[in-house]
Symmetry: C2
Subunit: 180 residues, 2 copies
């Protein structure tokens, strides 16, 4: 047993939503005392680094109600139940951008907020991009498709039009690939 392990004494699901569930747990700490943990269950998500043949990066501008503003992100979306992340990635890329790809290469997976949520994001690079059709986002999803250079996106990090972890990671990754 891990000496840092926290034993669950009581677990209550206080909200079951469309995307997230909320659990509140009483736990026994390593020193025997008790504490409370507030936890979000999330199905996980994918994000896709997709560059067109002329080296533009596909990005979407989307209103984020949690932030109260629209930001620019790389294409992304949450996993459907039981869905393999690669399947989600191909679907989300096509829905959000109208592009399809020949191949996906995994970059990394990371938990976005391990202190309170189990959301795991799988980041891919899409290779062999071709335009298949128009966007066909979910019925409650509205977004602008953008074709941006790495320099334009790095500038948007400064102005905070780009402001999220997966997109920031993707830009640092592309910057590093380029300088090698």
């Amino acid at each position: 047993m891990d000496h840092l392990y926290e034993k669950t004494l009581h677990s209550e699901t206080i909200y079951e939503g469309r995307i997230i569930d909320v659990r509140v747990e009483d736990v026994q700490l390593p020193n025997g005392k008790q504490s409370k943990r507030e936890l979000i269950d999330h199905p996980g998500a994918v994000a896709i680094i997709a560059q067109t043949p002329d080296e533009k990066i596909l990005a979407v501008r989307q209103y984020r109600k949690a932030l109260g503003k629209a930001i620019v992100e790389i294409p992304a979306g949450k996993l459907e139940q039981g869905e393999a992340p690669e399947v989600t990635a191909v679907r989300e890329l096509e829905e959000e951008t109208g592009y399809t790809c020949e191949k996906l290469e995994k970059v990394i997976s990371f938990y976005t907020s391990p202190g309170f949520a189990n959301e795991l994001v799988h980041l891919y690079v899409a290779k062999g991009l071709s335009k298949k059709g128009d966007q066909s986002a979910d019925e409650d999803e509205f977004l602008d498709l953008l074709h941006l250079s790495l320099e334009e996106m790095e500038e948007m990090l400064v102005t905070q039009e780009i402001h999220d972890a997966k997109t920031a990671y993707a830009l640092l990754y592309l910057n590093m690939k380029r300088s090698k």
Copy 2:
């Protein structure tokens, strides 16, 4: 008005916790239809890249109830109400590692999960590190302090002992700095 804006029709806070609040909102979409948004309010957090004079990176191993396992992360912690992120960063570094620093340099801020949460993480590099005392973590916080090389931490990314966004970003950042 942003053409992607979602107007709040109804907002209900369904949980007020110690760290997070949970809100469920009915919104009016750009096409006039309605949808539901499940939102987490979080006070924000800091994370600190801290290297000792012998180039070891300070890291903490901590049990994450949301993940059901312990992972290794760079030192981090959430903002107290009204607290400037730099103040949080100095405090968390000292509490979690026993080290103090002469200076903080901002690397980036990013939202971890903009689809459902407003948690903003501020990432710093701590300069001029010196050992001040022992760890003195919060009373419900148990962690192991580790001194690791960049190579050791990159290997832990592969084995998924390191598995979170802020630490992954920090390692990519350090890798890039080194190769320049």
